[in-house]
Amino acid sequence: MNATKTGSAFLRIESVSKSFGDFKAVDQVSLDVARGEIFALLGSSGCGKSTLLRMLAGFERPSGGRIVLDGVDLAGLPPYERPVNMMFQSYALFPHLSVWDNVAFGLRRDKLPKAEIASRVDDMLRMVQLTPYARRKPHQLSGGQQQRVALARSLAKRPQLLLLDEPLGALDRKLREDTQIELVNIIQQVGVTCVMVTHDQEEAMTMASRIAVMSQGRFLQVGSPADIYESPATRFVADFIGNVNLMEGRVVVDEADHAEIECEDVVHRVDHGITGYQGQEVAVAVRPEKIHLSAEPPEGERNRVRGLVRAMSYFGGYTLYHLELPSGATLKVNVENDTRQREGAPVQGDLVWAHWLPTSQVVLKS
C-alpha cells in the first residue's frame, strides 16, 4: 500500500470535478489506487460516489481534472474503448441473450477468434460456478446467480480496472454475507484492480482494503477499514461509520502524555497529548462496544459516568443500552451477551456506572 504514496499508482485520479449546472457532484477529488487493490467509495446517496464511478467508466465526462490508468489518460476515451468494465447495480444483463451470450458479448465486440471466445466464456462460467446454467436466459436465474453472471461478464474481457456499483445491493442479507467473501476471492484470484461504490459500510469494510468516505462530492477520509473506524478524522466520519457517542467538551489539561477534556456529564482522560489545543472546543467519540457497565462505582474520577437505563435493544450477540445521563443526553453502550441468561445484566430503570479506558476515545478537532 506504500506504492500509493509514490508515483507508481496504477489508477490516479487528479483533482477531478464534475458539475451539473451549479451543483458540484464531485469536487476536486484526488486519489491513487495501487495495482490489485480493492478500493471502496463509501457514502450516502447523492454524495457523488456514483458520479465518480461513472467518470471512471466513461459515462460522464469530468468537468476538470485527470484520470490516468496505468499511465494512460482516459479523458478522451469513450466507454467502449476503455480497458475498464463495470458491474451494474441492476446487473443490466441483456434479457434477450443467454447467460453464455451475455458473457461472450464483450469478447465478440473485440472480434476474438471463436475458439478463444468459447474457452474464455467457459472459464468464466466455471469460475462463477454457472456452467450448468449457460443456456438459460437471465430471467430464469435467481438474484444471486444473476449477480454472478454480471461478474463473469465484467471480468471476461480481463479489464485493467473493474468497477462495482453497489455489487451486493440487490441481494438479501444472508446471501450478501456469503457473496461478499466469494466476490473478494474471485477478484483476488483474477488479480484485477477494483473500485467499488457502496452505501453499506459493512460491505465496504469486509471487501475493501481501503475506503474513501465521501460526502457532498469530497473525500472526508481515506484509509483502511480499521483506520476509518478506530481513528475517524471528523465528527461526520465518526458518526457515519458505525455507532458512536459524541460528546462536546473543552480541553482542560494538555500534557505530553495525557490530556483531559471536560464535557457536560463526564471528564475524559485520554493517554495522549493534544498539542496546542489547551482550552479549545473539541468532541470526544467513544464507540458503544468500548464502554463497560457496572453496578459498583469504578475506580478514579475520570472516564466514568452514572446513567439510568432507559431502553435496551437485544441484537442476539450483544444488547444495546440507552443510558440517560444527568444532563439528559443519551449514552449508547453495547454489552456482549456472553451468557444465555444474561445473569447480573442491568435492566430497565437501573442506575449503573458506565466507564472506559483512556485508550478508548478519539478526540475530534473538526
Binding site: 466507454p79 441492476s90 443490466a92 444483463l93 441483456f94 434479457p95 458479448f105
Partner: protein, 317 residues
C-alpha cells in the same frame, strides 16, 4: 379467500374453469363477440364460395330432389380464381404494396418512436398526443386531402417535389405516370398508406422502447460496443415484439385496403380490395367474390400462423 373456492379447487380441472365467474365472463365476452361477428360470418363466406349464382340468389350446397340428397361443393369459383391472372396479380400487388408500406412505416416510425421514448418526461405526453391527433379528424378527409396537397400547380407538397426535381426521380423509378403528375400512381398510393398507418406502427414501437432499460445500453458500451453496435445488438432485439406488433398492425389492414387505393391509386395499382368490391357489387357474383375473400384471408393467416408458432417455440426455448 372464500372457503368454498378452496374446497372446489382440489381437483385437476382445466385452469380457466377454476376462475371465478366474473373473470370467466370478462374473458368470454370478447371471444363470444369474435365467434358471432368474425368466425360465423367467415364460415358463411366460406360456404358461399362453394356455391354458384342461381339467378339472383345463391344456390344451396345441399339439395333434395328425386329422392336424392345431394351435397354439392362447387369448386368452379376457385378454379376461375386460380386460372385468371387478374386475381393473382391483384393478390401479389396487395401483398407487395402492404409490404412496402410496412417497411416505410418501420423506417420512419422506428427513429421517431426511439426519440419519442428518449424525450423528457414532460414532452412525451405531448408527442404521444400529437401522434394520435390525426384520429380526431375523418380518415376519408385526411386521405382525400392528399389530392390537393399533391397537385402540381396548387398543392404545396406537389410544388415542393417538383422544385426538388423529385418528380424526375419518381418517374425514372416508374412510380408516377409522368413528370409533374403525382396522383393516381404507386407513389401516391404508398404515400397515403404510410401516412394513414404510421401511428399504428409508432404506438407499439413506442411502448416497447419506452420500457427499455438505459443501463443495458451503457452495459453494451462498457463491454466494447459502439453506440451503433449497441443499437443493433441490444435496442433492436429487445424491441422485437414492438416491431412485430407494429408491422402486423400495418401489414394486415393494408393488404385488404380499399379506400386509399380507390382515392389515391391509379389503374396500375389494382389491389384485391377493389377486385372484391367489383365482384360483389358490380358483377354481383357473390360466390366468386367469397372465394377471393377466403383466399385473401388464408394468404394472411397461414404465414402468420406459421410465424407465430415459430416465435412461440423461440420464446419457449
Amino acid at each position: 379467500m372464500k372457503p368454498a373456492l378452496v374446497e372446489g379447487g382440489a381437483g385437476e380441472r382445466p385452469r380457466w374453469r377454476g376462475l371465478p365467474g366474473g373473470r370467466r365472463l370478462v374473458i368470454g365476452m370478447p371471444y363470444l363477440w369474435l365467434l358471432l361477428f368474425f368466425l360465423l360470418p367467415f364460415l358463411i363466406v366460406l360456404r358461399i364460395s362453394f356455391a354458384e349464382m342461381d339467378g339472383a340468389t345463391i344456390s344451396n350446397l345441399v339439395s333434395f330432389a328425386d329422392q336424392d340428397l345431394v351435397f354439392r361443393l362447387k369448386l368452379g369459383n376457385y378454379a376461375t380464381i386460380f386460372q385468371d391472372d387478374i386475381y393473382w396479380s391483384a393478390y401479389g400487388r396487395s401483398l407487395m404494396y402492404a409490404g412496402v408500406t410496412t417497411v416505410f412505416c418501420l423506417l420512419i416510425g422506428y427513429p421517431f418512436a426511439y426519440f419519442m421514448a428518449r424525450a423528457s418526461a414532460a414532452v412525451q405526453p405531448l408527442l404521444l398526443m400529437a401522434v394520435m391527433l390525426p384520429f380526431w379528424t375523418s380518415f376519408l378527409l385526411r386521405v382525400y386531402a392528399w389530392k390537393g396537397l399533391l397537385d402540381a400547380q396548387t398543392g404545396w407538397v406537389g410544388r415542393l417535389l417538383i422544385h426538388l426535381h423529385a418528380d424526375h426521380l419518381l418517374l425514372a423509378l416508374g412510380l408516377i405516370p409522368s413528370a409533374g403528375e403525382f396522383m393516381y400512381s404507386p407513389f401516391s398510393l404508398v404515400l397515403g398508406m404510410v401516412y394513414t398507418y404510421l401511428p399504428f406502427m409508432l404506438l407499439p414501437l413506442y411502448a416497447t422502447l419506452a420500457k427499455l432499460d438505459l443501463n443495458l445500453l451503457e452495459a453494451a458500451q462498457d463491454l466494447g460496443a459502439t453506440p451503433w453496435q449497441a443499437f443493433w445488438r441490444v435496442t433492436v432485439p429487445i424491441s422485437r415484439s414492438g416491431i412485430i406488433a407494429g408491422s402486423m398492425l400495418v401489414f394486415i389492414p393494408c393488404v385488404g385496403e380499399y379506400v386509399i387505393p380507390e382515392l389515391l391509386g391509379g389503374p396500375e395499382t389494382l389491389m384485391i380490395g377493389r377486385v372484391l368490391w367489383d365482384e360483389f357489387f358490380s358483377n354481383n357474383d357473390w360466390p366468386l367474390a367469397s372465394g377471393v375473400a377466403v383466399i385473401m384471408v388464408l394468404l394472411i393467416i397461414v404465414p402468420l400462423a406459421i410465424f407465430n408458432n415459430s416465435q412461440a417455440k423461440v420464446a419457449r426455448a
